[in-house]
């Protein structure tokens, strides 16, 4: 049960940014109507909204394509990142052989690899997924690695005295310890995966929201650019929110979430 003061606080928190939003939109609309700026630079909010409604059918198709790229790239990044972190933590030789290379690869601006990916994989779905993966992978791996290693010696001793081997230590100690840090990195990673997919579509594509952006840009259809931006922002927000929700249910016990719990129980 949410108590009344909690609702009150929630509404109050919502009120301030809402007021700011409404004021900005009104000001923007007014400016467009009064001709403070040309409409090919900044169309009126009503014009953009109208366009948004009209193009829902078309753009939802592109949104599905882009979403698939983002989510697939993200999922692969999480799996590979966590698994590689496990291997690096447990196998000293792999740590020593691979880790310096990973850091080196990380320093390369991966967006610059875009043209190469197009040469290798063409204009289809795959290079975008790969780009999303490349951008999202590193923060997950680093966080998981740090998380797996952030355990107390005595906690390790405790588990060993219970007869736990490497696997049980991972399952019962390292993974739960790392989970809050991993979730933190997932929030960064999903945002980066979005960037990766969009940039991948910029470089060469025939569908997806990044493709819509580039096309609209080519014909100076500013309203459509804004519509595409709205879709991209909505997607990014949706994915981020989903991960935040997962985080709340998985690591409720962590210090960073306790205030929420205490408020709702007390």
């Amino acid at each position: 049960m949410i108590k009344l003061p909690a609702i009150h606080r929630f509404l109050e928190n919502l009120a301030y940014p809402s007021v700011l939003f409404v004021l900005s939109v009104v000001f923007w609309e007014l400016g467009a109507r009064l001709g403070w700026f040309p409409s090919y630079l900044l169309p009126a909010p009503t014009v953009i909204f109208e366009r948004l409604i009209k193009t829902v059918g078309l753009l939802s198709h592109h949104a599905v394509v882009t979403s698939a790229e983002i989510l697939l790239g993200f999922a692969i990044a999480v799996m590979v990142g966590v698994l590689l972190a496990v291997v690096i933590v447990f196998v000293r030789a792999v740590d020593r052989a691979i880790y310096p290379w990973l850091v080196f690869v990380q320093v390369i601006p991966k967006v610059a690899l875009g043209p190469l990916l197009v040469v290798w994989l063409g204009f289809g779905f795959l290079p975008k997924v790969l780009m999303a993966f490349l951008l999202a992978f590193f923060p997950v791996m680093i966080s998981a690695m740090i998380g797996f290693r952030s355990i107390e010696k005595d906690a390790l001793f405790l588990l060993r005295s219970m007869g736990a081997g490497q696997f049980k230590t991972l399952l019962y100690l390292r993974l739960p310890t790392a989970l809050p840090v991993i979730f933190g990195s997932l929030k960064v990673a999903i945002t980066l995966a979005t960037v990766g997919a969009i940039v991948g579509e910029f470089i060469g594509a025939n569908e997806g929201l990044g493709y819509v952006l580039v096309t609209a840009n080519g014909v100076l259809d500013t309203a459509l650019i804004f519509v595409a931006l709205t879709w991209i922002s909505a997607l990014a927000l949706l994915f981020y929110g989903a991960i935040a929700l997962l985080e709340r249910s998985f690591v409720r016990w962590h210090v960073s979430h306790r205030i929420l719990t205490e408020l709702s129980t007390g």
Partner: protein, 267 residues
């Protein structure tokens, strides 16, 4: 649970049957080269079956290291430890350990933390759960089973950690300054609880502590260690009747032990 280690050939059977833990000529160095530090110097100690022994000494005398060597978690530089006649070469598993910090996991409830012992060892969940609930009740944590560690006080947390160490009926209970961070009143109470549990279950117990009165209160025998490098300075048998009470601390005998131990620590 069987201790996985090499059977020592003849020694065990020849020595007293009731010897449970034997440490022979234990020496431990930390570090290498110029920075080498000798922490333990030729420590010999035996503990009988069901005996409660305390290792008393100033901070940094290597008493915690001694306990970790006994548990097979740290290897000695030389010397050997045997438990029930088996030389300890790998982490001992027929053991329950209480550490300085309670090491309760925030992602588990209090009951879940006690049950960790059963989960990792793969013990019967239903039986273990019953045992865990009754242990928690013994130490006054009834009603806190589904609480999270951070909702409990330091004393309550350490009590839960004690339950975790007792859940699987290990024959050896090792405690590494478990109550050092607690206030005096809580400490007295938890000492009483520990004594009650120990008297009921009669396990071999080794307690590392720097509190003289805690050591006297709980032990059958106290081993005093010298400052670094840790050596055994003397051993004192405590012949006070059990169950011991808090009031006993004012008895002449108790005070006598206290004076004697303080004297030997100072030297």
């Amino acid at each position: 649970m069987k201790i996985r280690s090499i059977r020592q050939p003849i020694m065990a059977s020849l020595e007293s049957e009731d010897m449970h833990i034997e440490m022979r000529a234990l020496t431990k160095f930390f570090g290498v080269g110029v920075g080498t530090m000798k922490v333990l110097d030729n420590v010999n100690l035996t503990v009988r079956n069901g005996e409660f022994v305390s290792v008393l000494g100033p901070s940094g005398c290597g008493k915690s290291t001694l306990l970790m060597i006994l548990a097979g978690l740290v290897l000695p530089s030389s010397g050997s430890v045997s438990v029930s006649g088996d030389i300890v070469l790998r982490p001992l598993t027929d053991v329950g350990i209480v550490f300085q910090r309670d090491l309760l996991f925030d992602w588990r409830t209090i009951l879940g933390n006690v049950m960790l012992q059963a989960d990792i060892r793969g013990l019967d969940r239903k039986l273990s759960r019953e045992k865990a609930v009754s242990l928690l009740e013994t130490v006054g944590l009834k009603g806190f089973e589904s609480r999270r560690p951070w909702e409990l006080s330091g004393g309550m947390r350490q009590r839960a950690a004690l339950c975790r160490a007792l859940l699987h009926d290990a024959s050896v209970l090792l405690m590494d300054e478990p109550f050092g961070a607690l206030d005096a009143i809580t400490r007295d109470q938890i000492n009483l609880d520990l004594q009650a549990i120990w008297m009921r279950e009669k396990r071999t117990a080794v307690l590392v502590t720097h509190s003289i009165s805690e050591a006297i209160f709980l032990s059958d025998r106290i081993v005093v260690m010298s400052p670094r490098p840790g050596r055994i300075a003397c051993e004192v048998e405590i012949n006070l009747p059990r169950p011991r009470t808090v009031q006993m601390r004012d008895m002449a005998e108790f005070i006598g032990y206290q004076a004697k131990l303080r004297e030997s620590i100072m030297h």
